[in-house]
Amino acid sequence: MSYVRLVNVTKKFGSVTAVDKLNLEINKGECFSMLGPSGCGKTTTLRMVAGFEDLDDGEIHVGERLLSAKRRNFYVPPEKRDFGMVFQAFAVWPHLSVYENVAFPLRLRKLSSQEIDARTKDALEHTNLLHVANDSPDSLSGGGKQRVALARALAINPDVMLLDEPLSSLDPHLREEMRFEIKDLQRHYGFTIIYVTHDQSEAMALSDRIMVMKNGVVQQIDTPFNVYTHPANKFVFSFIGLSNFTDVAAEDAKVYVKGSDLILPYSGEERGGLFTMATRPSEIDFVAEGGLRGEVVRRTYLGDIVDYSIKVGEQFLRVQKGRNDVRLNEGEICGLKFKHPFWYDAD
């Protein structure tokens, strides 16, 4: 049942089209991530949902409510949308105590003072902040400040929670911890999350579905598993996980590594001329007999993983193997077998 709906949403800044004809349906209670490189329009999309940006085309609905519509020049202002939102730079108010930060949205809603107190304490409790309620947020660490921001967003018990890179100001260890906290909070409160990040592992870990964007255009919307195993195009393939791209050429119904006479096993649709094979370093096996012949030019230990650079014809491939798998030495000739190669048109 789709809850948040974006129809043909477009936003331009001068000559830059930040978001281009975006159609999107997000289910109630879903955790939906927007993923993409810097400047691809994630924040702009989120800010349009929040109401901070007007649209250049399209409409935004949440449930039965129309929130933004270019054609009718109709915009519900951000303060009337009843969303929770968390920003990258914490944005907690240093002149108010932790308690007052969290109580702020409740006080604006003309609730009884008992109810304000109860709901503030509830939000503080679920974010483990009760013991610092009367402190200034400036005395908290980055993680603490971000919890205050979360608690403040939770306090009104919103149906939709907008998160714009909420964890990217934190150090890596804390980041992983907070992911689970956000997930737990969602389970408890049941809100719908729209989550912006450029960190693919964060998106994979948190989300029910991921949208990958590039230059304001949607590339793929699917579950983390499908985005990884069935990337819609070369860009998605390269953006999620590690990737090898090998230029290949078809000739006489055979597919060669470009610039060599090495033949690749090919089972896709019929193609001619130049195109590209995409493989993941972890999905290449070394085989003693047959396979694509290559030479080990560099071997690097990355803890549990051994990273090889293999020269195939004039090109290089990365292969990653477990610490306990077969070990090859630099200079050795090996055979490569590709588990799930993808084939894309050449650029």
Partner: protein, 562 residues
């Protein structure tokens, strides 16, 4: 590890010693002499005498007036400065960038020239606006009277509000816009956000600007001197000037002067202390890391009216007085109608090429300005270098002394310099141009220290270390790495000193002799003597020099940036 041989007195110690010596001689000794003279009688501490001097009616009144005028000016400037800052940073006011530049123009205009211009416009008897309104509406009585507390506060506000404006603009621009956006998404309307989030977060900046205005207004001479005389309104600096001038150096009046100067020193120190406290208490971490365009408040129906209001404000406070000065400077006698027939360049020619008094004044100001700027610039580089970059024992003293120039008002410096350089220590510079030079150096040291430390702080230590690691000696590293990097600071310091020196009044008025008038003194005394048109013409020439200088700086700064 090789053990370094400890030198007990090397180059760093020598630089420190020199820096301390300069600050002690130029700033500390005059201030100490004032405090000593006011609290010690015949070598004995005597606080009772201080109290009895402070309770003399005229001194008491000057104190109250200083406080009253400073408070009024502070309130008005804070209100106007905050409003305009908010308008040009946070709203969709048209031509915001340009408006912001215009609001900073009063910074470079001398307020006593503004006061003279407003006197020409709004004096009850002969002010052009009053006459115009009386003619227009057939009134018997003039509408405005500039010669009162209201007039004085209004004129001071016109020239001082940029201190609040610039502080608040900076704070608003640096503020992380998501602080406001998160209030908005929490359900707060723009008005609530401004009240509950923006203003409280700005409070330290607003307060600090407001305190600066109290400091400057209490120590401000020109406006009160020009406009207060008529109704007998005077503040501390004006009374100090009168005491020193009229009583020809009698000890009693010098002592009365030093007691008042001591009051200024103490209040200045208190204000600076308070300002540091406000700023450090309220130094919230509100600086944006990665920022978007801040939220813009849509003024909607008020957009055009507010824009017109801003334009009118600029027209009234900048354009009108400036035009008045130039026009009156072209008249043959003050009071005749401003018509084409009555206007000529005769006064300007007379002032520039014929009259020794004004030619001397221009020459004095230019040479004093150049001399003070060059000396202070080099001294400032050295002192800032020791403070910012060097690790020497005893640097704390220098840091303390370096704070002094920021807080010593002009009339205090002038009086202190008189005490120190009138033969007490075997050197008598009184009535020479040198005493003015010494006082300019003391007065403008703060600017030089500020500009140079700002430039030096940008030079990371590792740059010098990298050069030395490459084999450059300390001297080589200074010459090739540090000097090019501090040049912008020195350049800025030069103009920050030269231009204000061209229009200086507070200090020079206390120190001038018949042949050592500066431009400011000449404009002021001509105006006092009723030579209104000549005074206006000279003021016009001063404005041209200042504006040209500003344009030169702008040109070089833009060229560096672009």
């Amino acid at each position: 590890m090789p053990v370094m041989k400890r030198r007990s007195f090397g180059v760093p110690e020598m630089l420190l010693f020199l820096s301390v010596a300069i600050l002690v001689i130029v700033v500390a000794v005059p201030v100490l002499l004032i405090l000593y003279t006011s609290f010690f009688v015949d070598g004995h501490f005597n606080a009772g005498q201080v109290m009895s001097i402070l309770s003399e009616p005229d001194i008491y009144e000057a104190l109250l007036n200083s406080l009253f005028i400073a408070s009024g000016t502070c309130i008005m400037s804070t209100f106007i400065g905050t409003l305009f800052a908010w308008l040009v940073v946070r709203t969709d006011l048209p031509y915001k960038g340009f408006m912001k530049t215009l609001f900073l123009v009063p910074f470079m205009l001398p307020s006593f020239i503004g006061a003279i211009a407003w006197k020409m416009l709004l004096s009850p008897r002969s002010g052009y606006i009053n006459i115009l309104l009386m003619d227009l509406f057939n009134l018997e009585e003039p509408v405005f009277d500039i010669y009162g507390y209201g007039g004085i506060m209004a004129i001071e506000t016109m020239y001082l509000f940029p201190f609040v404006f610039i502080q608040v603009c900076g704070a608003l621009e640096r503020m992380d816009p998501t602080l406001e956006e998160s209030a908005r998404i929490s359900g707060a309307s723009l008005l609530t956000i401004t009240r509950k989030i923006t203003l409280p977060l700005m409070a330290p900046s607003i307060m600090s600007g407001a305190l600066l205005i109290v400091l400057y207004s209490m120590a401000h001479f020109g406006t009160v001197a020009v406009l207060g005389m008529e109704n007998g309104i005077f503040n501390i600096p004006v009374l100090i000037y009168e005491k020193i001038h009229q009583s020809a150096g009698s000890f009693d009046s010098i002592r009365a002067g030093t007691v008042m100067a001591a009051v200024l020193i103490v209040s200045a120190a208190f204000i600076i202390w308070l300002q540091n406290k406000v700023l450090s208490r309220g130094r919230y971490q509100i600086i944006a890391g990665k920022s978007f365009r801040p939220m813009e408040v849509k003024l909607r129906g008020l957009r055009i009216p507010l824009f017109i209001f801003c334009l009118a404000y600029i027209g009234f406070t900048i354009v009108l007085p400036t035009v008045t000065i130039f026009l009156v400077g072209g008249l043959s006698t003050y009071g005749v109608d401003i018509t084409w027939e009555n206007l000529s360049l005769d006064n300007y020619k007379f002032i520039l090429f014929e009259w020794d008094l004004t030619r001397d004044a221009i020459w004095n100001s230019v040479s004093l300005g150049l001399g003070a700027a060059v000396i202070t610039m080099f001294a400032g580089v050295m002192i800032s270098y020791v403070i910012v970059k060097m690790q020497v024992r005893g640097k704390g003293i220098l840091e303390f002394l370096g704070m002094l120039p920021f807080s010593v008002p002009g009339s205090v410096i002038a009086l202190g310099v008189i005490l120190a350089w009138s033969g007490k220590f075997g050197i008598n510079l009184y009535n020479t141009v040198w005493i003015i030079l010494v006082s300019y150096i003391a007065r403008y040291m703060a600017f030089s220290l500020k500009a140079n430390s700002a430039a030096l702080e940008q030079v990371h230590d590792s740059l010098v270390e990298a050069a030395r690691a490459c084999g450059a000696g300390m001297g080589q590293a200074l010459k090739d790495i540090v000097l090019p990097l501090v040049r912008p600071g020195m350049f800025a310091a030069f103009f920050l000193i030269f231009l204000p020196a061209m229009r200086e009044l507070t200090v020079s008025i206390m120190l001038y002799a018949p042949t050592t008038r500066t431009i400011g003194v000449a404009i002021y005394t001509l105006n006092e003597d009723g030579e209104t048109v000549l005074s206006a013409a000279l003021a016009g020439i001063a404005l041209i020099i200042i504006v040209t200088g500003q344009s030169v700086i702008k040109y070089f700064q833009n060229r560096k940036a672009g």
